[in-house]
């Protein structure tokens, strides 16, 4: 540690000779520092280092000119331990007692540092004490992150005993950190997930359902996350823009949604099609969603609501629901693609679920799904995915990436704190917490949150026979305007090779891209696409209504 730059402080006014007073035994003094002129006991080194750090932050917290207003005191900086302690005790009264000084007679000749009569001293104490509390919290937060990573490392190595010990320690540290926001909260979720991994692991999809909760719960969580943050809205708007442009000129259009939820993406598309130059086309929507266990046909209800909206704006609309627990269970004939219509496939945060290993020699789910998607020759495929690398084979890598990603995500949610939205925000956070739980505590087929970054998706989709479609400046402008309306400080929209990403403080968190089938890919045979015997759609024909 070199000498501190004290600026206009008092230490510049000279100090007592460094070689006065009796010497300690040479073996106690640290040799390296002695060469630089500082006499510090080796056993004191850690203590001195911590004190110097505290001094630096305390001086950062004290207002400029404070030190200059203090009376001139002479210190001997060669006895580093005593010197830094006396400076610190000026700035903050509640210090742990100094270790016995290097040589007692030397300490007695020095003036008592606590007899200051600076008028600013008392006023600034509160500031400095608060600074110290903040440093302690920051120190605890850093320690927490360090512990999390070492616990993950222990888990990766299979050392569950050590991992358990670290978890116990982390729970103690968590009590010292403000667990209501910031790193404390995120760390809490990760600690819980690690706990679950060690003590009740799940590697089959049946027990991951208990982690995920029912489909209805998931829809509610999704809805709250949609309301409270701009990520999903951004995704929907970008996808709709691409779909709208791709449907230009077509009279019959068909949208296939890989995850219908409450259908919040589609009112905007219906409205935009209603206002399209040349009149609205005939819109068919096929929504894929989870089957509802209690007999309630959730998909059909959403379809009816969308049909109502379409009816009110005079867009001919037909809806079809496909209930499937996994997208790779869906077969092309279930979608009833009619030859001659323009097809759009829309996947919002769904494709990454297909990246699990199939086991045996079955085709990878992602390849089979992409295969039939390309086979139905869509005019546009819109893909929205998290911009994160949570699918690496090593657990520690995934863990560290997830920690960084979700800290940023929670950060962005907190910036929007408004009293009226506390409850919504809490529910939205549960949505994210479930993702964290899945990434950290599940393995095998249970782990569905296998996020991959955009570059990997590009390679994968390109390899399946899809060509990228640039999203255009219109989409970019809409995204920027949306963010401004949404309270856009901190959010940033970036364009990467025709794809748009939305991020928080230059860390991209979600990406939206558009693709279309390559012209030289062979389409699926009609027998796979269309089975005329099946007809269970909800048909709303506005032209019939007009005649009434």
């Amino acid at each position: 540690m070199g000498p501190y730059p004290l600026g206009s402080s008092t230490a510049a006014s000279g100090w007592a000779a460094a070689d006065s007073g009796p010497q300690c035994s040479a073996s106690e003094i640290d040799g390296l520092l002695a060469g630089a002129g500082y006499r510090v006991r080796s056993s004191d080194l850690l203590h001195v280092a911590h004190s110097l750090e505290r001094l630096e932050s305390a001086m950062g917290g004290a207002p400029a000119g404070y030190l200059a207003s203090a009376e001139a005191v002479h210190y001997n900086p060669s006895d580093l331990a005593a010197w830094v302690h006396s400076i610190l005790s000026e700035l903050s009264p509640s210090l742990p007692p100094l270790r016995p000084p290097l040589a007692a007679p030397v300490a007695e000749t020095w003036p008592d540092p606590t007899c200051f009569s600076s008028p600013y001293q008392q006023n600034q104490m509160a500031v400095v004490v608060a600074t110290r509390q903040r440093e302690e919290e920051e120190g605890s937060a850093i320690r927490l992150v360090h512990l999390l990573v070492s616990c993950a490392d222990a888990v990766q190595r299979g050392d569950s005993g050590l991992a358990g010990n670290i978890i116990a320690e982390m729970r103690v540290v968590l009590t010292r950190v403000n667990a209501g926001f910031g790193i404390g909260k995120v760390a809490g979720y990760f600690v819980d997930a690690l706990c679950r991994r060690i003590y009740s692991p799940c590697s089959s999809s049946s027990c991951s359902a208990s982690v995920a909760g029912s489909a209805a719960d998931q829809e509610i969580l999704y809805h709250h996350f949609y309301e409270i943050s701009p990520y999903l809205k951004f995704a929907h708007f970008m996808a709709n823009q691409a779909i709208l442009e791709a449907f230009d000129g077509y009279d019959r259009v068909h949208v296939i949604d890989f995850n219908l939820m409450h259908g919040l993406q589609w009112p905007a598309l219906i409205q935009a099609l209603a206002l399209r130059a040349g009149g609205p086309p005939f819109l068919r929507l096929t929504g894929i969603g989870q089957p509802s266990p209690d007999g309630r046909d959730a998909l059909r209800e959403v379809g009816l609501r969308l049909a109502e909206l379409a009816l009110s704006v005079r867009v001919r609309f037909a809806f079809r629901g496909v209930a499937a627990s996994r997208i790779d269970d869906v077969r092309p004939w279930m979608l009833q693609v009619v030859p001659g219509e323009a097809v759009a496939v829309n996947s919002v945060l769904q494709l990454h679920r297909l990246l699990g290993d199939p086991g045996d020699d079955a085709a990878a789910p992602i390849d089979s799904v992409l295969g039939w998607v390309v086979g139905i020759r869509p005019k546009i495929v819109t893909v929205v995915e998290q911009e994160a690398d949570h699918n690496r084979p090593a657990f520690l890598d995934r863990f560290a990436e997830a920690l960084f990603y979700y800290s940023t995500m929670f950060d962005s949610l907190e910036a929007r704190r408004g009293a009226a939205q506390q409850q919504q925000q809490a529910v939205a956070e549960v949505y994210l917490q479930r993702e964290i739980c899945n990434i950290v505590s599940c393995e095998g087929t249970a782990r569905v949150e296998r996020h991959e970054p955009l570059v990997r998706w590009r390679a994968r989709l390109g390899g399946a026979g899809l060509r990228a479609v640039h999203l255009g400046s219109n989409a970019f402008k809409q995204a920027s305007m949306l963010l401004t309306l949404f309270s856009g400080e901190g959010y940033c929209v970036e364009e990467v090779d025709g794809c748009l990403t939305l991020g928080w403080h230059s860390r991209p968190l979600i990406s939206a891209s558009a693709w279309r089938a390559d012209d030289d890919v062979a389409p699926l045979p009609d027998s796979q696409l269309f089975d005329p015997s099946i007809d269970a759609t909800i048909n709303v024909d506005a032209s019939q209504q007009r005649q009434q």
């Binding site: 409205q271 206002l275 009816l304 009816l311 009110s312 704006v313 809409q478 401004t484 309306l485």
Partner: protein, 157 residues
């Protein structure tokens, strides 16, 4: 001291014919109110029953919305879509108004001062309508609960 000469009947009649009240000419009133900004329209609606009913007309709010969106608003097709989704007055209240407030830096500013700056800001009509349609959709509790669509039955084969 002279007695004050009261105006005679004919003179009063003459005056009444020459005196002009804005309330006599509703079309003129509409023309004027169409040029106001959102806050002023709200204030105008509190003046009297006639003004209140004029301010409730969607055409006044349509003019206001179209002033603030890029391209001056869409054609008659837009009007029917907006009417179906809830009307221009609701569009302004839910989407255009708050957006303008946000763009000009907050509703605390004087409405008259910000009206001038707001005229130079162009909001995307498609964005406002998209947000509006989502709002309309979220208000639909279900086919039975929505009064608006009672007269138009849904054909479910």
């Amino acid at each position: 001291m002279e007695a004050t000469v009261l105006p005679s009947e004919e003179e009063e009649e003459e005056e009444r014919k020459n005196r002009f009240s804005i309330n006599d000419d509703v079309d003129l009133l509409i023309e004027i109110l169409e040029r106001l900004d959102g806050r002023s329209l709200g204030v105008a609606a509190c003046v009297c029953r006639l003004w209140s009913s004029v301010c409730r007309r969607d055409s006044v709010w349509e003019a206001l919305c179209n002033r603030h969106v890029a391209g001056g608003g869409g054609g008659p097709g837009t009007r029917s879509v907006v009417a179906a989704l809830g009307g221009y007055r609701r569009l302004y209240r839910l989407c255009v108004g708050p957006a303008l407030d946000r763009l000009t830096g907050g509703p605390g500013r004087s409405g008259w001062a910000s009206a001038a700056t707001a005229a130079h800001l162009s909001l995307s009509l498609s964005l406002s309508l998209s947000l509006f349609s989502i709002d309309c959709y979220e208000r639909l509790d279900g086919p039975q609960a929505s009064l608006l669509f009672l007269c138009k039955p849904v054909n479910v084969p």
